[in-house]
């Protein structure tokens, strides 16, 4: 397949993922509303919000880096999509995945957060800076068990290629990593709670402490970019854990169902738990997930 | 309640003692002895709960009346200690060392009545108003209606009626106004 065709398919996949992410965030808010006993927003609300944000007339800047915050965030989201195989075994939908793409993915996961830190810091609002310092502290805490879990999988499958990890899990659900390597699986699922950023780990945007944190100053088109990269990230984070633990997907239906379930596992936890404080959140990741992560490595090392 | 007041009657030279109920009394004490008496009531008579501090403007007598309302949580009785101070350049000894919330009341009274409490923390800061240039707003001779009409923009068409005549006209339109007129609402 020529590189142009591949690019076209990748962009089409990005479009699918973007829309699926928006639908998923609408569904998320719908579910929260239903738990509360409300009717909730219409399912098409995120698209309208996006158009509305594009139609905002006033645009102002706080400096050059202020522009780059949303751009970096979006790059992080798109980069994660580009280098992760969307569907396994499909030449068209394998995107630009390559040997050792797992390392790059983990890097891209931090990339958006770092970009946001620079941009939001330029916004100059104290809420942004407090939110960013919380976000980076928590991100470091999440990253540790996550990388330990990933290393455990790398030791188990003797590879750092996501494609080969998925390939090793084919042939029925009993081959999924969550069953073959449950300790690493649980570590990664606990880290997933933090990576998804829902309550109890939503302290970056904590609406009644530091109202919505880093994006406080972002409006209009900037916010639209942030919203769409958020939607992509929702799907991509879920897809990463799907590929690592649940055998990947071989068609779009499977992709949608599996990402949905993984995403909503974090949503349902979030609905019934309040928010941690930053020191509690960091300590939480340093306890059970970290211990499990080390155990997962030790088991496969010997 | 009565026996407490009898006991301290001569000590503080109390005047105009009146009982609202058996457990609530209001009494007047001179400006010099007031804080002394409040301290005494707190330390020796068990009036440990500070209920409120207030001020009334008796413009006719050219006096401001401060009130310290104390409550005894064990005997369940209240005493209101009233102090009359001059209306010009009013000033009063600060009592912020007795209860930790008392400076708030003093700060409010400074703004609302212009009473100075030397030494009270943050007494000169704004409390509820910002950039207020008129005279203290709770004094009787500050006319809020006049101020509002001059400062803000009243909407055209808003009318004010005297309630008595308006109600009479609405309820009994055909009845002529009789001789029994009210003197206050003319």
């Amino acid at each position: 397949m020529s590189i142009y065709a591949k690019l076209a398919y990748t962009l089409l996949g990005l479009f699918i993922v973007l829309n699926w992410g928006m639908l998923m965030s609408a569904t998320f808010r719908k579910i929260v509303a239903r738990v509360a006993g409300r009717h909730g927003i219409p399912f098409y609300q995120p698209w309208i919000d996006l158009i509305k944000n594009a139609g905002v007339r006033t645009t102002l800047s706080h400096g050059f880096m202020f522009y780059l915050g949303p751009v970096f965030r979006f790059t992080g989201a798109v980069g994660m999509f580009l280098f992760m195989p969307a569907l396994f075994g499909s030449d068209m939908w394998s995107n630009f995945s390559f040997q050792g793409d797992l390392i790059l993915l983990l890097y891209f996961q931090s990339f958006g957060m770092l970009g946001m830190a620079i941009g939001a810091g330029d916004g100059g609002h104290p809420h942004s800076t407090i939110g960013i310092s919380r976000g980076l502290a928590q991100h470091a805490a999440i990253e540790l068990p996550m990388i330990l879990g990933v290393i455990s999988l790398a030791i188990q499958y003797h590879t750092l290629s996501l494609n080969e990890i998925i390939a090793a899990q084919q042939g029925g659900f009993q081959h999924w990593t969550i069953f073959t390597n449950p300790i690493a699986g649980i570590t990664l699922l606990l880290a997933a709670l933090g990576a998804m950023g829902h309550s109890p780990f939503n302290l970056v945007k904590a609406p009644n402490e530091i109202p919505i944190g880093p994006p406080t100053e972002y409006h209009g088109t900037y916010l639209g970019v942030l919203m769409s990269s958020g939607a992509i990230l929702h799907v991509i984070e879920a897809a990463l854990f799907m590929n690592l633990l649940f055998g990947g997907a071989t068609n779009w239906l499977e992709y949608i169902v599996k990402t949905f379930l993984i995403y909503f596992y974090s949503v349902f936890v979030g609905v019934v738990f309040p928010r941690f404080k930053i020191e509690q959140s960091v300590v939480w990741f340093f306890k059970i997930p970290l211990a499990l992560g080390i155990l997962a490595i030790l088991i496969y090392s010997f | 309640m009565k026996e407490i007041l009898d006991r301290i009657q001569s000590k503080y030279n109390l005047q105009d003692t009146s009982f609202r109920t058996d457990t609530m009394a209001f009494t007047t004490v001179s400006k010099e002895l007031a804080i002394d008496m409040v301290t005494y009531m707190r330390d020796y008579e068990g009036f440990k709960h500070f209920v409120m501090m207030s001020c009334v403007d008796w413009i006719e007598d050219n006096k401001l009346q401060l009130l310290y309302l104390l409550n005894n949580p064990t005997k369940k009785c209240d005493i209101g200690i009233k102090v009359f101070i001059e209306r010009e350049n009013p000033s009063m000894q600060s009592a912020h060392h007795l209860w930790k919330q008392l400076w708030t009341y003093q700060r409010e009274l400074k703004e609302a009545f212009g009473i100075d409490f030397p030494g009270s923390p943050r007494v000169d800061e704004n409390f509820v108003l910002e950039g207020w240039t008129e005279k203290p707003h709770m004094l009787r001779d500050f006319d809020t209606n006049k101020y509002a009409e001059e400062t803000y923009f009243p909407r055209e068409g808003r009318s004010t009626n005297d309630p008595a005549t308006y109600m009479r006209a609405k309820l009994y339109p055909n009845q002529p106004v009789t001789a029994k007129k009210n003197k206050d609402h003319e």
Partner: protein, 397 residues
């Protein structure tokens, strides 16, 4: 093991105490951040502001700013007839307006000598209305504490049930929020037909809600973690700061105006105010949760004990020419937030000389809050404020 993981912030870098006892905070040194929480901040209770000085996200100094809701009620009432001042004054605190109605009505009755004339039926209806007001306040306040930790579902359920109580208020008084039901001399109307049955239905819903909120809040590990040991009011502060109501009861001081200075017919009801000893946010929300149970019980008791029929209003003079002889009084009641009182002075004319409201938040939200916030985390500000039941309109009137 868990002690090992606990972060102990290094407070040595925090401001030194100067010779005059004030903190030495040099904002230009760039070590501190000035942060205003409010008035435009979703986490602040109502329209008020807390000015924080932060070192990192630890608070080194807090100042409360009020006055954003100042309307000058006390001035306005001085230039209105007694009856005209009535609808004005009940807007002094929006969270439980009925308490203002009772205070004004009771003060004028006492000063004009009509307090013995208020009929039996009116007394019971006043009690019912006051307890319903407390119930609607608690339905917002109890889950509101979980809402401060971003557990918003309880708030949604609670506000829905509060709406049902407001419906009953609408039946009883014709208005949703500002009822003007308790008037000098009695109340404005009898119970409508079938009111007790519909009320009982709502109370049964609320019983169900009480159980659910217990599971949601007090059985929740993270709620316990965030609420325990935060915002502690030691017992000795209760005298020093004049703390009242549930905040005092959560610190182990049993203070309830309904028990200590019984008004209306509270001495005929069977209840015991709940207390706790810890004095932290958890204790305060626990006391408030038990008060929710108790209020539901009290409404049931009132509906069972109240007479079926009777006069609801005493014969009062013509309100347009009503003059009250010179006098002064202090009237108090137990609102959902604590002792709520009014100092009322008359001078023999047809308008009051001075009306001064004593709201519990006056001490809780300024002197106490400023003291409690120091050395806490910025994440706890909202929770502390809500747990003190701060209500700004009663501070600034």
């Amino acid at each position: 093991m868990s002690k090992f993981f606990e972060f102990k912030p290094d407070r040595s870098k925090y401001p030194a105490m100067g010779a005059d006892g004030k903190l030495d905070i040099d904002l230009s040194s760039q070590k501190y951040t000035k942060l205003w929480l409010g008035p435009n901040h979703p986490g602040v209770t109502g329209n008020m502001a807390v000015e924080l000085t932060l070192a990192g996200d630890e608070i080194v100094e807090a100042k409360t700013h009020v006055g954003y809701l100042h309307r000058g009620f006390e001035k306005l009432i001085e230039r209105r007839l007694y009856v005209q001042g009535f609808p004005t004054s009940i807007r002094m605190c929006v969270a439980e307006p009925d308490t203002n109605e009772y205070l004004i009505a009771r003060s004028t009755e006492v000063l004009s000598g009509y307090d013995k004339d208020v009929p039996e039926m009116a007394q019971w209806l006043r009690m019912l209305s006051l307890e319903m007001a407390r119930l609607q306040g608690l339905l917002r306040g109890v889950p509101g504490q979980a809402g401060t930790f971003s557990l918003g579902i309880g708030v949604q359920w609670g506000v829905y049930l509060r709406d049902l109580i407001l419906d009953r208020f609408e039946e009883l008084t014709g208005a949703r929020v500002y009822h003007m039901y308790i008037i000098p001399g009695g109340v404005r109307g009898l119970l409508p037909d079938g009111f007790k049955k519909r009320m009982e239905d709502n109370l049964r819903d609320i019983d169900d809600f009480i159980v659910r909120i217990r599971q949601l809040m007090f059985n929740n590990a993270i709620f316990n973690k965030r609420a325990k040991g935060i915002g502690v009011i030691p017992k000795e502060w209760v005298e020093q700061y004049g703390i009242v109501g549930t905040n005092a009861r959560a610190s182990g001081v049993k203070r309830d105006i309904r028990k200590d200075y019984p008004y209306l017919h509270y001495d005929q009801l069977d209840f015991d105010p709940p207390t706790a000893t810890d004095g932290d946010i958890y204790a305060r929300s626990w006391v408030r949760w038990q008060e929710l149970i108790q209020t539901v019980d009290l409404i049931r008791q009132i509906m069972a004990k109240m007479p079926e029929k009777g006069d609801i209003r005493a014969q009062m003079p013509n309100v347009l020419h009503w003059k009250i002889p010179k006098g002064e009084t202090y009237t108090r009641l137990e609102s959902g937030r604590g002792e709520y009182g009014m100092y009322y002075v008359t001078d023999g004319s047809d308008k009051p000389r001075r009306v001064n409201l004593r709201g519990p938040s006056y001490t809780h939200a300024i002197a106490l809050l400023e003291k409690m916030l120091v050395n806490t985390n910025i994440a706890d500000v909202h929770a502390t404020m809500v747990s003190l039941q701060t209500c700004p309109p009663e501070i600034e009137r």
